[in-house]
């Protein structure tokens, strides 16, 4: 398959692994930012192949995982309001809120519809004028332009039965928060290639200067990841941390200007509650006042207060800040499993715990008899 097979070539992968092994003088610590990268690193055995040469830790790049339980509670509440249909990406449905997941709410009669695109939710609202359709707008800068487009489309169609429950988050402020934490051990970043495709990577220059860390814009296929790791390690060995793009087939320095313009037209930057992290300065997006008509919180009178949740057992903050790896969590695979999760990282398809559960949960050391 074009653009897939080329980046999964086992021979080239093995060559890159050898290059990395012969390059390093010490075991460096790199953080990948995106949950998609975490899954690929484990799925293709890259973390294992390089374990003696580089410590790969996994950052807060799973949008589902950082969505506060208050947002899921709001979504759950909306789904059981008469006349309301909550539309969501499939990923969100299994994530536990403080009461229950959206799947559970649906089984109890909540109206939850999963869609592939926010524009599908707009179309659904257009076709069902008697229903109030709320789209659960979750995700980083990768998905936010699509939800912005949905709002613009709904406005153009003069829909009065479409709104957004916004819980969008921004990557760079979270990376800054991680570096400002005294506990971190991060020496370099594999920046999320798809976020950079939208935002560009100009803004990482100041970040790399300030914290003296390499930032390598990295894709998601095995060869992308190996190239990104090689580049970050090369910079660390040379002592010249910099911003480099190793995902040039998708990301440009300026990013996608059309998407950026749409984002700033519809959203403004706000401080934001991250699940497991607390408030991150400039860490999220909210609808601008001109689009207040499309704000589900206003339309349905949901409070903006971020109430203090009961303490969560889930160690997602420690996992997503790279302080511990999922198997080091005392609940991993015991009280917390995909069927009965304590937190989102165990059930989201981009969650770090789900990656370890799926690809590493058992010790595998067997030879085929054939």
């Amino acid at each position: 398959m074009k653009f897939v097979n080329e980046f999964r070539d086992p021979l080239l992968a093995q060559q890159l692994v050898e290059q990395i092994r012969s390059l390093v003088s010490k075991r460096w610590t790199l953080m990948d930012i995106c949950g998609g990268q975490t899954h690929s690193l484990l799925r293709y055995g890259i973390e294992d192949a390089l374990s003696d040469y580089v410590e790969l830790i996994h950052g807060p790049g799973c949008p589902v995982c950082v969505t506060p339980s208050k947002a899921i509670d709001d979504a759950q509440q909306l789904s059981i309001l008469p006349g309301v249909i909550l539309a969501s990406f499939g990923d969100m449905l299994r994530v536990p809120g403080s009461r229950e997941s959206l799947l559970s709410a649906r089984a109890r009669g909540g109206r939850v519809k999963f869609v592939y695109s926010p524009l599908d939710a707009v179309q659904f609202a257009k076709n069902n004028p008697d229903a109030q359709v709320v789209f659960f707008a979750v995700g980083f800068e990768t998905t936010a332009p699509a939800t912005a487009l949905a709002v613009l489309q709904a406005k153009r169609l003069q829909l009065t039965n479409f709104s957004l429950l916004v819980s969008h988050v921004r990557v760079l402020p979270a990376m800054e928060a991680l570096m400002l934490s005294p506990k971190h051990s991060i020496e370099g970043f594999l920046a999320a290639g798809h976020v950079c495709t939208i935002t560009g990577y100009k803004s990482y220059d100041a970040f790399a200067d300030r914290f003296r860390v390499p930032v390598v814009v990295t894709g998601f296929e095995p060869l992308d990841l190996l190239r990104g790791i090689l580049e970050a390690l090369r910079q660390l060995e040379n002592g010249h941390p910099n911003v480099i793009n190793c995902y040039s087939r998708s990301a440009r320095r300026e990013g996608n200007l059309v998407a950026q313009e749409m984002l700033s037209q519809v959203y403004e930057v706000v401080d934001c509650d991250w699940r497991g992290f607390g408030i991150i300065e400039s860490g999220g997006l909210r609808l601008r006042d001109e689009f207040a008509d499309f704000d589900a919180k206003l339309r349905f009178g949901l409070s903006n207060e971020s109430k203090r949740n009961a303490p969560e057992l889930c160690l997602s903050a420690e996992v997503m800040s790279g302080q511990i790896k999922p198997p080091q969590c005392p609940f991993f695979g015991k009280q917390c499993t995909p069927d009965s999760p304590l937190g989102a990282p165990m059930v989201s398809s981009e969650g770090a715990c789900s990656a370890y559960m799926r690809y590493r949960s058992y010790v595998v050391s067997i030879e085929c008899a054939s």
Binding site: V4, S104, I366
Partner: protein
Amino acid sequence: MNPINNLLNEAKTLYLTCPSESTAKDVVLLAQGEGGRLMRKFIHERIVPILGTSTIEDAVRIPNGAGELAITTDSYVVSPLFFPGGDMGSLAVNGTVNDLAVAGAEALCITLGLIIEEGLPFEILDRILQSVAKAARECGVAVVAGDTKVVPRGAADKLFINTTGVGRFRSQTHLSCQSIQEGDILLVSGPIGQHGVAVLAARENLRLTPEPQSDCAALHHACAALLDALGGDLRAMRDATRGGVSAVLHEWSEASHSSMKLDESKIPVSPEVRGVCELLGLDPLYVANEGTFVAAVAPASVDLAIEVLQSHRVSGSAKAIGCVLRRQSSPVVIERMLGVLQPVDEPSGSPLPRIC
């Protein structure tokens, strides 16, 4: 006291009241009917005890003086009713014929139970029934009994079908996943994930080119030929419906107390299924099939098995995809690039597409 201990203590006090489980205790979840672990638990811990049955095979032998009969039942609730490569009518016949076929039985007759939502246009019902008749003719199976219910609008989604099939075992060879042994080779009869992806694309109107086609087909000729050619060297067959190939192998691993090893590079997946799975973050191993089966065969008969299967259209691209190992800590493992072996998790509910 370190923070982990603090948390463990907190856990002891909080865990009992923790409200955040995603599995409800008092209502049936959709996920419990979607294949995989939740459904298996649901069947084994709730339904089977109530029914008092103990079998886990696709069909059971009924003692009978004149020979042994097989009986199986399945319900069909697919949405949409029509999808590229099939419809609910052909599915309802082929699915039940296949459940008999993979158990080593030849279908003799099926019953047909219809649950229809009021307001279903005759035109749609006619098309589905015609499809039932055509598929039954092609399989040489008689539809011998029927039942029709109409329920109020909203109580069913257009149409549900149940078929029960009765068949006759072809030989004394007792196919059972319990007879799978270390060293056996795992075969798959064709490209995997076609049905699940075709239905998903049709349901969600994904407008893909080329449009993925369901593999919906009757497997009885291919299964019978394989059984006749291999005899006791054919250990087990199973059509890989909901939960996909992964769900079958997990069941086999449990029943045979062995582990199943797959080689990713050998598993046939069509470009369109692979494309959809890449796009949506799904794994074809977990996606449903309706005309593709997995077989475990003795190593000495692998070449013969592949030759026999490839001579039938429905299994023309049959391949060996793995082998059976002594039981390890992981029930199912897969060898991926860089030669790394990884566990294949049991599906938990239907796969949900990712955000980005």
